[in-house]
Amino acid sequence: MTPNFLKVYAVTPPCGWCTSLLVGALALVLACSPPDRRSSEVAEDRTASLAAQGVAAAGAAAVADDGQWIMPARNFASTRYSGLSQITTANAGQLQLAWTFSTGVTRGHEAAPLVVDGTMYVVTPFPNFLYALDLTQPGAPLKWTYKPSPKLAAQGVACCDLVNRGAAYHDGKIYYNTLDAHTVAVDAKTGKEVWKTRVGDINVGETVTMAPLVVKGKVLVGNSGGEFGVRGWLTALDAESGKLAWRAYTTGPDKDVLIGPRFKPFYAQDQGKDLGVKTWPGDAWKIGGGGVWGWISYDPELDLIYYGTANPGPWNPDVRPGDNKFTAAMFARDPDTGEAVWTYQWSPHDLFDHDGVNELILLDLPIKGQTRKVLVRPERNGYIYVLDRATGEVLSADPYGYITTTTGIDLKTGRPIEVPDKAPQTGKVVRGICPAAPGTKDWQPASYSPRTGLLYIPHQNLCQDVQGTEANYIAGTPYVAAIVKMYAGPGGHRGEVTAWDPVARKAVWKIKEKFPVWSGTVVTAGDVVFYGTMEGWFKALDARSGKELWRFKTGSGIIGQPVVYRGPDGKEYVAVLSGVGGWAGAVVAGGLDVRDSSAALGFVNAMKDLPQATTKGGMLYVFSLP
């Protein structure tokens, strides 16, 4: 890494053109693209150094920060930590609006804006516009708009509003996915489409809502559709051409799951041949779900990517006896070949739609006197897991919310200890299931500060009643077979922000919110945590105490991921998309009728008062100190 780093900085700034001309004389092809190549190499190195910073985050204090935000979680370790420190706990109270931008779209805005080379890139929900805003000009005027024109029909197979979780930058291109299951590469300077690849089929219920990650020249993309009986996969596309490099299915025979000689899962339950077939009745694995719509992390030293797999389908567990591998699980894979290196299943035979796709934060933590390479996962089932990221061993799993469905995680077998009374059944109503289907935490990503050693976890406090129903698989229609009715958990509040110490394994402080906290968090070297509420408040907290420092009321509920960057003027900015929606906000974004408690998979019952608290409408808000 270091020699490359030196090369770029030694050669390009003083005489980038001379070098390019020299190269150009040798090869005409290269001569056509010297400016692009130069900036992208720099960016690539920044990526690498950021990743290293994130991975080594645990011990390190604030490292020099390039002020950009080029991938969904800011770095490969997924810490969502910004090294900028102009905004501090002392001055955050003076934050004020710098500028805004209307997206013209009214569905749920879950994406993180990207900031690269003085330009901000914003991806909207369906119809998935990509806007480039010029940060070097006052008010950040629009540079260009890219419209991918996804198929309208895709709206009919998107389970939970028409969201998109953002883009990734690599080598002069912006990569993101469209609802109708395409991946696009767009030239970051011109807004012209470089390539567009169809990765899935809406006719079998496949959509793509996740933010891709680019690792070693491959764009990693996974499908959504666990409520439509899809067969989950993670796909690697060549970043230059968009051509398929590999695809790893979540279910099916080992050759499809890319399980080979390197596969060494830690627990006996995950060892054996073709478990992706044998742990299902008949051919149910072909429509068994296990999509990959969440987050991907990457450890450059171990050279492994990490990602989770979603719930098995249908929700009604009666029709799929067995462990349903490898749904509600996670994989460590080789990014070059896709080969599985290890797996771990959070919820074997998932009973509650507990997708295992949440973020995996890669940290080096002192555990029992040793520094361990771990990944930390605030899981949907209510436990925060700390796993050895080289082997897949669970080092700890502690509850961070109210749980009635399990009594703990057996660290010997890796399996949750289930409460049989809470298992849903066909034709029977089971009440008091906590956490509810969206879990203690859903997709909304946590952040981690190496300065405080704490995770800042946005999440919810929900329980539910469930009745299993008859399951009919009809391709392109939902495959859920459960009637659900959610409501607030103990205390009556539906959202929380928890600051969690992963070494001491306990919560340090908690903030209660009326509605689920469906936005991400971000934390800075100024020890300020930012997040948004579904009423529309954007808040700044003291990272050490949880004390509120500042708040601003945006136009709609916030479910986006805040980002922090340094503008071309040298100032620190905080940006967030406002625009309610997502599963939690579908009642507003989709104009649903609150008299039906089961609407939007039962989430509406818990959100009946949201239409009185906010209205829809997408808008970007950017804040700075005066």
Partner: protein
């Protein structure tokens, strides 16, 4: 005499072979064959023609409506519209209709699908069952008589019964809620 035979022959050849039309199922075979034109707008070009009324056969048939309710769940209508509150698809228990609330409109919506995500079920469900579905869907917002609409549910109670649902006077939804302009 010869003239009358000729006239008779002509008449027989004209009408003799045409039998009385009997629709044994008592329902139209398709939208095209039996129904008045299906409109989604009040505006008509030229003189306004009043439609002759509906062909929907089950508007007053409690048994068929309850069959429709079963089919509504079995064909996964409930997967998107849930028990009327909506989710992936729009609510069906409220007053807003994007593509029309008349039985013929709903029949067409099911058969042909709609561009913003409603799948086409044409050729997948027999017409008789589609009409049962149509009647049930209309009962969800109280558009059927109370003694026809279902009064109980076999599953977990998640909404007021169709029978107890107040009639929601249909209004046309200006913009499909899910359709942003591309």
């Amino acid at each position: 005499m010869r003239t009358s035979v000729l006239i008779l022959t002509v008449l027989v050849s004209l009408f003799g072979c045409e039998r009385e039309e009997r629709n044994l199922q008592g329902i139209p075979q398709s939208v095209a064959s039996g129904m008045p034109p299906v409109r989604q707008t009040e505006l008509q070009a030229g003189p306004t023609v009043r439609d002759a009324g509906t062909y929907s056969p089950y508007e007053g048939n409690a048994y068929a409506v309850s069959q429709g309710k079963t089919l509504y769940n079995q064909f996964n209508c409930s997967g998107c519209h849930f028990q009327g509150g909506g989710g992936i698809g729009p609510p069906l228990m409220d007053s807003e209709w994007i593509y029309g609330s008349d039985p013929e409109n709903i029949f067409e919506t099911i058969v042909e699908g709609r561009p913003n995500g409603m799948p086409s079920f044409g050729g997948k469900i027999v017409n008789d069952q589609i009409w049962q579905l149509v009647a049930y869907v209309r009962s969800m917002s109280g558009l059927l008589r109370k003694d026809v609409a279902p009064g109980r549910s076999d599953d977990m109670q998640v909404r007021p019964q169709e029978q107890a649902t107040q009639k929601a006077r249909p209004v046309q939804s200006a913009v499909p809620p899910s359709a942003e302009r591309q």
